[in-house]
Every structure is written in structure tokens, then in C-alpha cells.
Subunit: 325 residues, 2 copies
């Protein structure tokens, strides 16, 4: 089995790659080769694995070569993030829409109908002036995205669904929840603070919270998110419930509850490192995303949300430990 | 006021152009210039009007020039039709998606935030393996298009909505019902038979009906369709009910009821000219479109469906008369 991960040097892509290499198989078939495509080279531990090949550079340019290089499974995670796309419309259209089209063209050209997991996002949902969000998001809730990032993700879902209907790929659209706790430096995502208000204080550093304490958000740990991507890749088509996207299971918490869990796991001093600086744009973007999901369809894939936020914080502290010691 | 109509040499575009030139104004402002863009030149009566300018050629190429030619109102009707797009995926992507992007780029470049009416279609709706169509389509029904044409129309709606949110254009997405009776030769639309089973017998010619008599369809006359496009262009933003698309009002009839109306208006011999030759692909595509719509939002724009199919047939016979005589 030959696997392609776009965004393979990113946080989620690298984590997915490590999990796959550790398992050694996908859908019961041994992994012989894994291509990690990204603007940046993959981490050293990944490059050191004999099965891994780095494909470093812009995605659109690489896609031309892939027309004659068939993959058995593709995880398409590469994307410009929400705040970037809002600030630079053309960048978002190129990085998210044009790149996905180029990838679909390449996979169609290769002709072997690979399994394709497209990482969409809860950002497809938003409150349109003519269509307020319902209290609970179901699989048949009409997305009315209120950010260019959300629009681009929703458009790519449509393309993946149509290319699946046409038999060019065997695509699966999964909408990821906001992934928390992300390690490393903040990226350009509007939701970046949801990780930094835990990560920075847990490492003795100050952090800024730009939204009110009572804002509700839907989150998933990195481990659950990777489990969701793998479940979507391995599911028989019937279990996906058609070609429409599956909302990954989300844990609903308030920002205040997140900080309570931080205090429980890392102490009062840690919580004291978070200061509040309201940011209207971030509050608008992240506050516009839905926070409560009906997880029925995700459950069909065997996926459940994280049990509580404290376990997410503790898993982060545990994983981070070796790097600190 | 300077108006652009893409697809301006087509049946609907020409009819819209004539209606606008006859009115002499849009939204209370006099029409000084009208550009009719199409692959084909406009009809002679339109070219003869001093206000009309033909822009004949591929839309994408023309868009480059429009970046420095601001329009006050744009009706974007140009599209490859459903059966064409199903037969030739790349043609549909280019003619529908790429052309609309090029047009949006041009209008954004011109910088004057023109009013833009995008003609979408009821073909955005379809019955996904995981999401059967509800009995009645509402404004918040999730489209799960089951044709490349429907996917492309739905994607363009998203782009128009986002460019509106960003302030590049003042866009309005309207989903047209199947327009019946279309004059002239059949085009590549899967729904073409819905016109030809009336038009051909009314003119003494045989016609083929490829679907069963009990198939329900949602139709609108050419006159009501043009009225809907104009209402969308003139409506204040609030009346549009947000940026999500408005389903134009549709008259629900069965194919059998259509033939009954033909018989009433044009006689038993006319009906006898229709023979049945089942076509699985056309039955699947057209039968997959919804036939019953909740027209509440269209009513807010002052739009109602045609009263009955007999009046549609009679209007066609009346309009056709001069050309015959």
C-alpha cells in the first residue's frame, strides 16, 4: 500500500504519519511507501523511516507528477488556515480550492480510484443573515459558511463528492473539530488561542485569551482527530452514510471550563498566566462556529468525542513530558 | 445604468434583455448600455437597439477586459447545461466554475460592487445515498447535488455568497425551476424533453417523452422566470433573506398533466404526436430533482408560481403565433 499525506509536515499530518507507520498497515494492507507532501520537509524521525519519502514544495506543482504515480490512499490535510484566508482571499482560493482541484485531477489521471480522505472543518457552518444556526448541528444542517476558509472547505467537499460519484476517487469528507492542544508555535488559525491558553501556561509562559469565558466551543484531541481520519479511510462506503460529509465527534466545553481543567491539571499559577484581551474579529469568527453537534453519524464509524477536557489537558502534559525532561 | 448579461444570446438571456430594454430602467435607473456576452452573437432585434453591444466569444477571455469596465448590474446566466456537464466533466468545470470565478474576479477588479444575479438551478438538489430528499424543499434544505452541473451551480452559489460577504459584489443567488416552454431546437439539457413534448406537437411535429407519465416536475414559464431574475436584481438585500440562495417559485405538475393541458389547448391530435421511449439516464437525472417547493421566501420577493400548466401552454401558443403566421 502506498499512501500520500498532503500537509504531511504539519502537526496533524506528522501525527497521522507516525500513527500509520507504527501500525504498519491501513485497512489490513501493509504500508510499503508513504509520501509526505508539504511546503516544508517532514520531521527527522519521519524522514529516517525507510518507507517515507518527502515531497517538499507547492502542492499544485507536485500534482502534475502524481498523474502517473498512483496512490492507494490519500489523506488531504494541506490547507491555508482560517485567519490567513480571511486576510488574503486569493491565497485561500489558491491554497485551498485550486490545490484540491489539482489533486483531484491528478488522482483521476492516475486512474486507480484511490481512497481519499478530505479534511474539512466545522468552519463550514456559520450564521447567515437569512439562516441562523440551529442549537444542535445535524448531518443534514445546511452549511452557510461565514468565512472564506469555510466556503473553500465546503466547495472542496462538493468536488470530492462529485469525483466520488463519477468514480474518479473513493472520497470521504470529514469535518474536523478544532484540535486542542496543538503543540508548538501558534499558526494563523483564528482558533489558535484555544491551544495556546492551555499550552503556554502549562509550560510556564503567559497566554492571551481573546474571547469571553462563556464562549462554547467544540473540540477534539489530536489523538481522537487522527483516529477519526483513519476510521474514515478504513470504513466501508455504506458506513460513511453516503457522500455527504461526516461531522467528527466534538466535545462541547466553554473556555471557562477549559481553564478550570488547566487549573486542576497544572495548578492555580498556570491559570493565572492567562490574561484577557478581547479581540472582536476572533470572537466573531470562532464564536460563529457551532459548538454542539449530533454525533450519530460519527458513532456509526465507531467514533466518540473525548470524554472530558481534563483528559485532553492531561494527555497533552503526558506527551509533552519527554521533550521537557 | 450599464448592464451585463452573460448568456445574453441564449433563450432566457435574450428574453431578459428584451424585457429590460422595453422597461428602459432597472431599479428606477435608466438603462444606458447593455452588454450581451455569449459564445454566439445576439438576435438581430437586440443588436439593432442603440443601447446594446455584443460581446461575442468565450466568457473567461472577455472577463479580463471587464476588470477595467465597471457594470452596475450583472445577470450571470451563461452555463454549459446538465447533460453536457455529465458527459464532459472538464467542459462543465471550465464553462461553469472557471467562468464564474473569472467573472467574479473581473467584477471585484472593477471595484464598484455591482449588483449580481446568479442563475443557479433546482439541480443543486438530489438524493444522496446518505440523505434522501424531503417531500417538500425548503430554503434550509441541504443540497446534495447528484450531477456535475448541480455541483458546479452549488459551488458558484458559495463563491457569489462569499464575494458578497467580502464586499466585492452585491450578489443574489436564485435557483431557477425548469423553464417550459422553451422555443427552438432542443439543447443538451436533460430536461429538454419537458419543452419538446409541448413545443413539437403544438407545431404539428412528433416528440419523444423519455420518462413515465406520473413523474412530478417543478416548472416555471419563461415570463415568470424573467420576472424572478428582475425581482432578485431590484430587491433590497433584506428582502433576499440573507446570502443563501432563493428557490424561485415552481409549479408542480406531472408529465401526464402537462400532456392533458396540451390536449386541451392544442387538441387530441397534438397529444397523439407524443410517443414514449423510456430513457434511464434522463429519468434518473430529472427524476432526481425535487418537484415540490416551499415558496415562502420567493413570496417575500413578490413572486408566485404560474397558476397552472394550461396557462403556460396558452402563453406559448400565443407568443409563437407571429412567427408561424
Amino acid at each position: 500500500m502506498k499512501i500520500l499525506i498532503t500537509g504531511g509536515a504539519g502537526f496533524l499530518g506528522a501525527r497521522l504519519a507516525r500513527e500509520l507507520l507504527h501500525r504498519g498497515q491501513l485497512d489490513g494492507k501493509p504500508i510499503e511507501e508513504m509520501v509526505l507532501a508539504d511546503l516544508y520537509p517532514p520531521a527527522a524521525d519521519l524522514v529516517a523511516d525507510a518507507r517515507v519519502r518527502a515531497a517538499t514544495g507547492a502542492l499544485i506543482a507536485q500534482c502534475i507528477g502524481w498523474r502517473s504515480e498512483p496512490f492507494d490512499a490519500v489523506f488531504h490535510l494541506a490547507a491555508a488556515v482560517s485567519a490567513e484566508c480571511e486576510a488574503n482571499f486569493d491565497l485561500g482560493m489558491r491554497s485551498n480550492l485550486d490545490s484540491t482541484r489539482a489533486l483531484l485531477d491528478a488522482l483521476r489521471g492516475a486512474g486507480n480510484v484511490p481512497r481519499l480522505v478530505f479534511a474539512s472543518s466545522l468552519a463550514v457552518y456559520g450564521s447567515d443573515p437569512g439562516l441562523p444556526l440551529p442549537a444542535v448541528i445535524r448531518h443534514d444542517t445546511l452549511p452557510a459558511p461565514q468565512s472564506s476558509y469555510g466556503v473553500q472547505k465546503f466547495i472542496c467537499e462538493q468536488l470530492v463528492a462529485d469525483c466520488t460519484r463519477k468514480g474518479f476517487v473513493d472520497g470521504r469528507n470529514v469535518r474536523l473539530m478544532t484540535v486542542v492542544v496543538r503543540p508548538g508555535a501558534p499558526n494563523g488559525a483564528a482558533s489558535g488561542f484555544l491551544s495556546s491558553i492551555i499550552r503556554e501556561p502549562a509550560n510556564g509562559k503567559p497566554a492571551v485569551c481573546p474571547v469571553p469565558l462563556d464562549m462554547k466551543v467544540a473540540l477534539a484531541s489530536p489523538a481522537r482527530t487522527v483516529a477519526g481520519l483513519l476510521a474514515a479511510a478504513e470504513a466501508p462506503r455504506e458506513a460513511m452514510g453516503g457522500r455527504i460529509a461526516v461531522n467528527m465527534p466534538g466535545l462541547t466545553v466553554t473556555v471557562g471550563e477549559m481553564l478550570d481543567a488547566l487549573e486542576t491539571a497544572a495548578g492555580k499559577e498556570a491559570r493565572g498566566l492567562v490574561r484577557f484581551e478581547p479581540d472582536e474579529q476572533i470572537t466573531r469568527i470562532v464564536g460563529g462556529w457551532p459548538a454542539i453537534f449530533d454525533n450519530t453519524r460519527a458513532l456509526r464509524l465507531g467514533l466518540e468525542p473525548d470524554p472530558d477536557f481534563l483528559s485532553i489537558v492531561r494527555a497533552y502534559l503526558h506527551e509533552r513530558a519527554p521533550a521537557i525532561g
